[in-house]
């Protein structure tokens, strides 16, 4: 019921929102979607990835390069991007899980791969290297769905569809056999294995789904912002930015990534406005604020905002532990 009202509100949103509000809403949906993707791997299956920028970057560059060099539109490029990212995820997952790497070491392995890619892409001249790759800028007045070019409202609806789809997919996954196995593995892998769960297989599935979903986020990024720099897209700061939403909202919950993305984006935009109004445009201030919010949430609401909020509101959400 509440969900239907929220969906209706989001669909109707562009009718009364200005262009600034629309861009903020698109950003919120983007972070909600990407947070949801990361949540599958870390929140559901318990495999801490701190290198998700790898999938965003590879996805963005794959679709971007096909469009830039060959004029192949993103709807075809999307599948190549997904394929490449799943392949990358499968390689990392296979190596890590076969060699028994978990916890801290797994997280560091994901960072290492993302950093490796960042420096590697910096030296690939075919993709523009450190100078970046620029896609032809959109005609803002007409909608060219085939090449995913159009006015901001098109991107808003596209992101809304992706975020809605991801939410539905995650809700289904969480109640599926895979979801229960993941949660068992997350809570105690040894116990799960002793019950006959093939932990390797299910962890690989989580990595594959998560990397495929993140690839889509990368493709969207490429065609929404139209410029790609390895320094930015593969940076560890980007990986951390992507996971702040789900962590603050509630790791492993369905609504956590959405709530976290909304809270963080609104706070950060509000803060930017406020600072601009006061004339205090100090670099780093916003990030310090992010850090303080993260610190407070981790210290005082270790499960995130959503579980605490849901309890207060009396909402029984099966995804809460």
């Amino acid at each position: 019921m509440l969900l239907a009202a929220l969906a209706a509100l989001l669909v109707a949103f562009p009718l009364f929102a200005g262009s600034y509000a629309l861009s903020v809403a698109t950003l919120i949906l983007y972070f909600a979607y990407t947070g949801q993707a990361w949540n599958v791997m870390t929140g559901f299956a318990g495999q801490l990835s701190l290198g998700h920028s790898l999938y965003v970057g590879v996805g963005a560059y794959a679709a971007g390069a096909l469009f830039y060099h060959y004029g192949i539109g993103p709807w075809a490029g999307l599948w190549i991007a997904i394929l490449l990212c799943v392949l990358m995820g499968a390689i990392i997952g296979f190596l890590a899980f076969r060699f028994g790497i978990s916890g801290v070491y797994f997280a560091l392995l994901t960072i290492a791969f993302a950093e490796f890619a960042r420096i590697g892409f910096d030296h690939l001249d075919w993709l523009g290297g450190p100078g970046g790759m620029f896609l032809k800028v959109a005609q803002r007045d007409q909608i060219d769905l085939l090449n995913f070019r159009g006015p901001p409202v098109m991107y808003y609806y596209a992101m809304l569809a992706f975020a809605g789809g991801a939410f539905a997919l995650c809700a289904w996954l969480l109640r599926s056999r895979a979801g229960y196995y993941w949660q068992a593995i997350r809570e105690d892998e040894e116990a799960a294995r002793s019950l006959g769960i093939d932990a390797f297989r299910w962890k690989m599935l989580a990595v594959a789904i998560s990397s495929a979903m993140t690839a889509v986020s990368g493709v969207f990024f490429a065609f929404y912002y139209n410029n790609l720099f390895p320094e930015q897209i593969f940076s560890i700061n980007r990986s951390i930015e992507l996971i702040l939403g789900p962590v603050i909202g509630g790791l492993g919950t369905l609504f956590g990534p959405i709530l976290g993305a909304a809270v963080l984006t609104l706070l950060s935009d509000g803060l930017t406005e406020l600072l601009a109004a006061l004339g205090w445009e100090i670099p780093g201030f916003k990030q310090v604020f992010y850090g303080v919010v993260l610190l407070l949430v981790v210290m005082f609401l270790p499960n995130g905002i959503w579980p605490a909020l849901a309890k207060r509101l009396g909402i029984d959400d099966a995804s809460n532990r």
Binding site: T42, Y105, P283, F285, L294
Partner: protein
């Protein structure tokens, strides 16, 4: 390309690597005892470097002279951080600890950015351009002094853990948390001391490093990753491993910078990290647990 050049580069790599090693030693000690991964390690290093730069700018004091007071301040800071913020987290899930220290790291890096801006800062002393010659190989004075300070600090730390009662108690906590509590050790206090010592290592490394490179706020995450690479390559928890890992990374970075491109140098470190994680996860010098 002559052998002299290669030899010079290797020697410089070894000396820089010893300073890296001391920095990584701090991380290794903290992880080995407290079992918390200090994601703010490189950020602490940049704070130490800024301290040295600022003191130099204000009082014209050589970074080697302020090394001890800065290390002392860092020890206190580390103790307070551990006992005040991190201790309640030692029994919480790993990812929560990660997030806590990532938050600390974000605050540190960007606070430096807010206070000092993105420009590079450095220290100029007259012996930075001088060098000793040893059989055709040039040893930069600053680099040699920095490496010596790192080795002295590492030896002192090693002796502390080996010969003092407090050091032995800390090792007891690392070996068996429950056992240490049963025999009546104040584990939280000892954890605080450990984090303080790790922070002091970083302070010494930072004061020494400021003579070799310029400092910017964005160096923090880079040093954090570098420290992780070194510690994992050398073996988490192994003290000699951290120093030798530092030398290995220092030399490989220097050679990659010479033969390929300076910008590609850390790619080798990360490649090495991936290989070591997969083939010998306990590290080159670590013991299998």
């Amino acid at each position: 390309m002559t052998w002299d050049l290669v030899a010079n580069v290797v020697v410089a790599g070894v000396l820089t690597g010893l300073v890296y090693g001391l920095m990584a030693l701090g991380l290794s000690v903290i992880f080995g005892v407290v079992r918390v991964v200090n994601f703010a390690h490189g950020e602490m290093m940049t704070i130490a470097m800024y301290s040295a730069v600022l003191i130099f700018a204000a009082l014209k004091l050589d970074p080697f002279l302020v090394l001890l007071p800065v290390a002392g301040a860092f020890f206190v800071f580390g103790y307070v951080l551990q006992t005040g913020v991190i201790n309640p987290f030692i029994t919480r899930p790993e990812h929560t600890q990660f997030m806590l220290l990532i938050a600390v790291a974000i605050i540190m890096t960007n606070a430096l950015l807010m206070l000092f801006g993105p420009e590079a800062r450095s220290v100029q002393v007259d012996y930075q351009l001088e060098s000793f010659e040893l059989g055709g190989v040039l040893l930069d004075k600053a680099r040699l002094y920095a490496a010596s300070a790192a080795v002295v600090a590492a030896v002192l730390l090693f002796a502390f853990f080996r010969f003092t009662l407090t050091g032995k108690s800390i090792r007891a906590c690392a070996d068996n948390y429950l056992g240490a509590r049963i025999v009546g050790l104040n584990v939280k206090h000892l954890y605080g001391l450990t984090f303080g010592l790790g922070a002091a290592c970083v302070a010494v490394a930072g004061c020494a490093m400021v003579l070799l490179v310029d400092v910017t706020p964005s160096l923090g995450p880079y040093y954090t990753l570098l420290a992780f690479v070194i510690v994992i390559v050398g073996g988490l928890g192994s003290m000699t491993g951290a120093l030798l890992g530092g030398v290995l990374i220092g030399v490989s970075e220097a050679l990659a910078g010479l033969f390929i491109a300076p910008s590609a140098k850390s790619m080798f470190s990360f490649g090495l990290l991936i290989l070591v994680l997969l083939l010998r996860p306990q590290g080159l010098f670590g013991k299998r647990s």
